[in-house]
């Protein structure tokens, strides 16, 4: 009579150190091997879309910040571009440059959190603190311009709330010079570390077809070897003025599309963002940032789908306006919501420790998953 073994259901519950927020993963285990992963979300659902229907267009911006609270600047960027498309406003050149600079700084800050927490999920605690030390410098740059460190409400429909602080350009250049060697230090500590490579190579391999079919975008898609970046393939704002290249996963350590590739794409992207910031800081024109801000935002009846390259992936806003001051419907296509959907597909057959590594490598923020 065969030994009757029955699978163990392990709840990696809402309160778990490695779930990047309030997420419950229901793991079906056979010993340590995973049979299936069932994510349960909704613990952090704050009804953003219902709120947005009761707010005026400018009042929605503080709510948009709170979706992906690690990349608020870029959430605002997507929303503001969408409403400006609806209104048909053309913002002055200086505003475009400042938005690109702030967006790329926010990308570095968001990647630093992703890399830091990923190192901690694998067990190395020190890189987490190095990443947060550098991130604090970016946050103080933001604080200098708009006064807040995490939720800015800085991009407004048609312009910005404040102009740049007089010595912002100088301290931003200082930061770029200060931060470049630190990326190399991170590489020594984590990227080339043999134990880190053992833990991440050939783990959670995401083949390219399933990635596109599941709608995966951003660093996770580029990790699977597909050169797809909205800043180049569907250019918005003035990204076509800067030259930077798109890093993709080449499977240097394991197969293409494993956790290590997604991680290494993020490291290289920080490098590219530094290049963009330097170019943008040099070509920064003068001008008034609040000139194109309309007194009352009242777009015509219509709908628009604007999408931007959020640090986590493609962030899309589908805004329907019925001609009144409040938006009729805003649907947000959050990259983390989509990336969490693929967990079940890539976690099969791995071990419990790998689920944490995979969850860390797809880099989700629960604020954006639950909206």
């Amino acid at each position: 009579m065969a030994l009757k073994t029955e699978q163990m259901i392990l709840n990696m519950g809402p309160q778990h150190p490695a779930t990047h927020g309030v997420l419950r993963l229901e793991l079906e285990l056979e010993g340590e091997i995973i049979q299936s992963v069932q994510p349960h979300i909704g613990y952090l659902h704050r009804c953003f879309e219902k709120h947005a229907e009761a707010m005026t267009y400018p009042q929605v911006i503080p709510y948009v910040d709170r979706m992906d609270y690690l990349a608020s600047m870029y959430n605002e960027f997507g929303y503001v571009i969408g409403v400006e498309k609806l209104l048909g406003i053309q913002v002055p050149e200086r505003v475009e440059y400042i938005r690109v600079i702030m967006g790329e700084l926010q990308r570095i800050a968001s990647h630093l959190v992703a890399i830091g927490t990923y190192g901690m999920d694998i067990g190395a605690f020190t890189p987490f603190l190095y990443c947060f030390r550098d991130r604090e410098k970016i946050l103080s740059l933001f604080e200098m311009t708009c006064g807040a460190r995490l939720l800015y409400n800085y991009f407004w429909v048609g312009g910005l709330s404040h102009d740049l602080h007089p010595d912002f350009v100088r301290s931003a250049k200082e930061f770029v010079k200060y931060f470049r060697p630190n990326i190399k230090e991170l590489n020594d500590l984590l990227t080339n570390n043999r134990i880190f490579i053992d833990r991440t190579a050939n783990v959670g391999v995401l083949p390219l077809e399933t990635a596109i079919n599941y709608g995966i975008t951003g660093p996770n898609l580029r990790g699977s070897g597909f050169k797809w970046d909205l800043r180049k393939d569907d250019p918005y704002s003035i990204y076509n003025k800067f030259d930077f290249d798109i890093p993709t996963g080449q499977g240097l350590v394991g197969t293409v599309g494993d956790c290590w590739d997604r991680y290494y794409v993020r490291i290289q992207e920080m490098e590219q963002s530094l290049r963009i910031i330097e170019q943008a800081l040099d070509q920064l024109p003068d001008g008034d940032v609040t000139s194109a801000i309309p007194k009352r935002v009242k777009p015509p009846i219509g709908q628009v789908y604007s999408r931007v390259e959020n640090p986590k992936g493609e962030l899309g806003y589908f805004i329907i306006s019925d001609g009144s001051v409040n938006p009729f419907r805003i649907k947000v296509r959050g990259p983390s919501f989509v990336h969490l959907g693929v967990m079940n597909e890539i976690c099969k057959g791995h071990m419990v420790a790998d689920v944490i590594a995979i969850l860390g490598s797809i880099d989700i923020v629960l604020g954006e998953v639950d909206r």
Binding site: M8, L10, H16, P17, A18, E32, G119, M120, D121, I122, G123, A124, F125, T126, L129, Y130, R133, L189, L190, N193, I195, F196, D198, R199, M351, V352, A353, D354, I356
Partner: protein, 357 residues
């Protein structure tokens, strides 16, 4: 020597024996464990550009005592589902397994807990309690994570005993004694007489031994790291996966027992490594006592050298903890069975041949 000193005072064998076996525990190990906790927090802080505890006493030296007092007055939660006897014995077993190992370790020529002839054999046997304690803790706290943690740590400690024992056998082959005291005595003189540099006897054998001794040292250091559940092998209490493994459900004094046992175990393991390879309590550069002809000064100097070497190895363990990520369970097993054990065997054979010369 200390033994007959107490014997002369108290006149009865039993009391002298009890005092002597308790002496290392209260004089040395408990204070050391408190110091090690503070050291770990300061080392990890400065390695991460932080300051670590600064508020309780200047530079936070009272922090650990504050921690212990906090833990003592914390409520000792025993959940209804836990099976009580196992739950309460587990920390005691882990505590006993760690502290019993100190009985056979020579702190200085004047002082050794009990100068038994099979010193190192006793230490390996007694540290088996720790595994039983951890399994009991994992099973009795009736929590899936603790069970997983306990299973992993049992597999890890048992499989890493083998490379440790293999390397110990190589040392015993060369020196011929199990008794740690005589082993330390053999490594007198300056640091080139230490076992890591080929041991006391001169000649071609010494130079042939050096490379294999270094390999042996690296193997035993790695495998003792695994036995103490320190990074990169701290899988049983992997914070990011198993919340904190077998001692998740423990609170108050029981958790303090696990906590102190872990740090004491760290020192015990580095003490074994110093005695086997780095000349136990022998000083690398001769004794001040000889120069000044003060005979009583030598044991104190030896105690000083022993603790500095021990603390250096504890520092290296901490240094590793704050640098390296964690291995997965199957990689851990692969590292032990595919890498450490074969190399230890080859090392054993080669050293065996060399000693025949």
């Amino acid at each position: 020597m200390i033994y007959n000193f107490f014997y002369s005072i108290t006149g009865s064998l039993l009391i002298a024996d009890i005092i002597q076996s308790l002496l290392p525990l209260f004089i040395f190990i408990l204070p050391f464990a408190l110091f090690a906790v503070w050291l770990e927090r300061k080392v990890s802080a400065h390695m991460q550009d932080r300051l670590g505890p600064m508020r309780v006493g200047s530079h936070g030296w009272l922090q650990t005592i504050a921690d212990i007092m906090k833990l003592v007055q914390k409520e000792d939660i025993v959940a209804t589902e836990n099976d009580k006897p196992l739950f309460n014995i587990a920390p005691v077993l882990v505590f006993v397994g760690t502290y019993a190992a100190f009985a056979a370790i020579p702190f200085s020529s004047a002082y050794i807990g009990s100068n038994i002839d099979l010193g190192i054999f006793f230490i390996i046997a007694v540290s088996g309690f720790v595994v039983a304690g951890i399994l009991m803790a994992g099973w009795s706290s009736n929590n899936k994570y603790s069970l997983l943690g306990a299973m992993r740590s049992a597999a890890q400690i048992i499989s890493y005993e083998i490379p440790t024992i293999l390397v110990i056998i190589t040392i015993i082959m060369i020196t011929g004694t199990l008794n740690l005291n005589t082993l330390s005595e053999m490594q007198t003189g300056h640091f080139w007489n230490w076992m890591i540099l080929g041991g006391p006897q001169l000649g071609i054998v010494k130079f042939l031994l050096i490379p294999f001794m270094i390999i042996g040292f690296v193997i035993i250091y790695i495998s003792t790291l695994a036995e103490v559940n320190r990074t990169p092998f701290d899988i049983p209490e992997a914070e990011s996966e198993l919340v904190s493994g077998y001692h998740t459900e423990y609170t108050g004094m029981k958790f303090a027992m696990f906590f102190l046992a872990e740090y004491a175990n760290m020192f015990a393991v580095s003490a074994i490594v110093t005695v086997l390879f780095f000349g136990g309590y022998q000083s690398p550069i001769g004794y001040l006592g000889n120069l000044l002809h003060l005979k009583w000064l030598i044991p104190i100097e030896q105690l000083f050298w022993f603790t500095t070497k021990g603390i250096f190895f504890v520092f290296v363990q901490m240094w590793l903890r704050w640098t390296l990520p964690r291995l997965r369970v199957d990689q851990l097993m692969a590292a032990c069975w595919k890498y450490l054990i074969p190399i230890a065997f080859v090392n054993l054979i080669i050293i065996g041949l060399i000693t025949l010369l």
